[in-house]
C-alpha cells in the first residue's frame, strides 16, 4: 500500500525556486533515503511532506487521503480538521531534536499521546518505558533533555515520534548535529527500525548508512530528482551529477 504520495510538487521562496516538479511515493515498509548537496531542497521536500511548509503546487496524499491536491496550478489544502487527522499518519525527527526542555524525558514522550491522542495515561507510560528500553535509555526517564548527550537526546526524540504510532517516519539529517562518535548509536536505532519494517524517509549525508539501510535512494540536486533507484545502482551510476556528488564521499562503485 502507498503510504505517501507526492505529485509534481513545486515550491519557491520569494522567487527562488527550491522544488521543481518533484514526485515521490513511498510504499508501506519501505526505507527511502534522500541525498544531495546542500541547498538542493531536501529539507524543504520533507517539510512540505510534514505540512510544516505549504507547497505552491502539487498533490500530497497519505494512505490515499488527500492533504492537498493541485487545482488550477496551485495546491489546495484540505480543511484544518482533515489535516489534523492526516498529521497522525506521520512523525518527524529533526536534525536538532527540538525536545521540550522543560519536560522530562518521559513527559516529552508521553505528553502528546496523552493530551493530543487522548490515550490512556497508564498505557502510554508503559509503552514509553518499552520505547526507552529499546533506545537504551531506561535509566534516563526522569532526566531533562539538557542533562543528556546529543545522541541520547536524539534517541529521545525518536522515541517521542514513535510513541505517536506513526505509519511513516521522516528524518531530516538525524545525525548532523552530533559528534561523529555519537552518530553510530542513532544509525543503529534507525537500522533496527528498518529491520522491524518501519516505513521511513531519511535525509542524510551518511552515505554508507544510506546504502545499507535503504530499499531505494533518491539523489536530489537543485530542486529536482536526478536519480531514484536502488543503492547498488545509484552507487554504480553513470550519471555525471550523481558521480560528481558521490565522488566527494569516495564511495563510488565501478
Amino acid at each position: 500500500m502507498k503510504l505517501l504520495e507526492m505529485n509534481h510538487v513545486k515550491k519557491s521562496f520569494d522567487g527562488n525556486v527550491v522544488l521543481k516538479n518533484i514526485s515521490l511515493s513511498v510504499e508501506e515498509g519501505e526505507v527511502v533515503s534522500i541525498i544531495g548537496p546542500s541547498g538542493s531542497g531536501k529539507s524543504t521536500l520533507l517539510r512540505c511532506a510534514t505540512l510544516l511548509e505549504t507547497m505552491d503546487d502539487g498533490d500530497l496524499y497519505y494512505l490515499n487521503e488527500a492533504a492537498a491536491v493541485s487545482e488550477g496550478g496551485r495546491s489546495v489544502y484540505a480543511s484544518g480538521s482533515k489535516l489534523k487527522t492526516i498529521e497522525r499518519q506521520f512523525g518527524l525527527v529533526f536534525q536538532n531534536f527540538n525536545l521540550f526542555p522543560h519536560y522530562s524525558v518521559l513527559k516529552n514522550i508521553t505528553d502528546a499521546p496523552i493530551h493530543v491522542q487522548k490515550r490512556e495515561k497508564k498505557e502510554v507510560i508503559e509503552e514509553a518505558r518499552v520505547l526507552l528500553e529499546k533506545m537504551g535509555l531506561s535509566d534516563r526517564a526522569d532526566y531533562y533533555p539538557c542533562q543528556l548527550s546529543g545522541g541520547q537526546q536524539q534517541r529521545v526524540s525518536i522515541a517521542r515520534a514513535l510513541a505517536m504510532n506513526p505509519k511513516i517516519l521522516f528524518f531530516d539529517e538525524p545525525t548532523s548535529a552530533l559528534d561523529p562518535e555519537l552518530t553510530g548509536e542513532i544509525l543503529k536505532v534507525i537500522t533496527d527500525l528498518a529491520k522491524e519494517k518501519m516505513t521511513m524517509v531519511i535525509v542524510t549525508h551518511e552515505m554508507n548508512f544510506a546504502k545499507e539501510v535503504s530499499d531505494r535512494m533518491i539523489f536530489m540536486d537543485k530542486g529536482v530528482i536526478v536519480e531514484e533507484t536502488t543503492p547498488e545502482e545509484l552507487f554504480a551510476s553513470t550519471n555525471q551529477r550523481t558521480r560528481e556528488f558521490l565522488g566527494k564521499y569516495h564511495i563510488l562503485n565501478g
Binding site: N98, F100, P101, Q117
Partner: protein
C-alpha cells in the same frame, strides 16, 4: 500621638500599599499578555493599536496617568468622584501602565523562542492553544523572569505615587503623620518598610528563578 498609635496608622498604610501591589500585578500580568498578543497580531489595526497603547503608557509619566484616570471621569464626563473610586483609580492606572511594560517583556520572551519548538509541537499534533500554554509559555516565563523581577521591584516603589491623589497608602500616611507630629520617625518607618518589602519580593523572585533552573 504616641509611637504605638503612629505605628498603627502606618500599619494601615502598609496594608494598603501591599494591596495596591498585589492587585496591580493580578491585573497587569494577564492584561500585558493580551496586549502582547495584539502587538504581535497579524491584524494591522490591532497591532497598530497595541503599539500606540504601549508607546503612550511608556512615554508619559505614571503620575500623570494616575491623575487622568482619577480626575478624568469628572472633568470629561462630569461624573462625581466618590472616595471609593480613589482606590479603583490607583489600581486601574497602575495596572494599565504596568501591562504595557509587561506586554513588551512577554513579546521579547515569546519572540525569542526557537521556531523548532513550534514545529515539533505541530508535528506532534498539538493545537495552537496547547502549543502556546504547554510548550511555549512555560519556557517564556523562565526567560522573562529576570525582567519581570525588575518591574516588580520598581512597582513596590511606584506604589508611593498614589500619594498624588491622596490615597492613604504607606507614603501618604507617613507624610501626613510626619507633618502633624513634626517627626522623622514615620519617614524612617516608611523607608524600612519599603526596603523590607522589596527585600522579600526580590527573595521570592529569586527563589522562583532558582526553581525554574532545573533545565536550561
Amino acid at each position: 500621638m504616641n509611637l504605638q498609635v503612629m505605628m498603627q496608622q502606618l500599619a494601615g498604610g502598609m496594608l494598603t500599599t501591599v494591596q495596591i501591589f498585589v492587585l496591580t500585578l493580578l491585573f497587569s500580568l494577564p492584561l500585558g499578555l493580551c496586549i502582547s498578543f495584539g502587538r504581535m497580531s497579524g491584524n494591522i489595526v490591532l497591532r497598530g493599536f497595541a503599539k500606540l497603547y504601549i508607546s503612550i503608557m511608556r512615554g508619559t509619566p505614571l503620575m500623570l496617568q494616575l491623575l487622568v484616570v482619577y480626575f478624568g471621569p469628572y472633568y470629561i464626563f462630569g461624573i462625581g468622584i466618590t472616595s471609593a473610586y480613589r482606590a479603583y483609580a490607583v489600581v486601574i492606572a497602575f495596572a494599565i501602565n504596568y501591562a504595557a511594560y509587561f506586554a513588551e517583556i512577554y513579546r521579547g520572551g515569546i519572540e525569542s523562542m526557537p521556531k523548532g519548538q513550534y514545529e515539533a509541537a505541530k508535528v506532534l499534533g498539538y493545537t495552537k492553544t496547547q502549543t502556546f500554554f504547554k510548550i511555549i509559555f512555560p519556557q517564556v516565563i523562565k526567560r522573562i523572569l529576570p525582567s519581570v523581577t525588575n518591574e516588580v521591584i520598581t512597582l513596590v516603589k511606584d506604589t508611593s505615587l498614589a500619594f498624588s491623589i491622596a490615597y492613604a497608602e504607606m507614603f501618604t500616611t507617613a507624610k501626613a503623620i510626619a507633618a502633624s507630629q513634626k517627626s522623622m520617625v514615620p519617614f524612617i518607618a516608611a523607608a524600612i518598610f519599603y526596603y523590607v518589602f522589596n527585600f522579600i519580593v526580590a527573595a521570592l523572585m529569586e527563589f522562583w528563578e532558582k526553581k525554574m533552573s532545573y533545565y536550561s
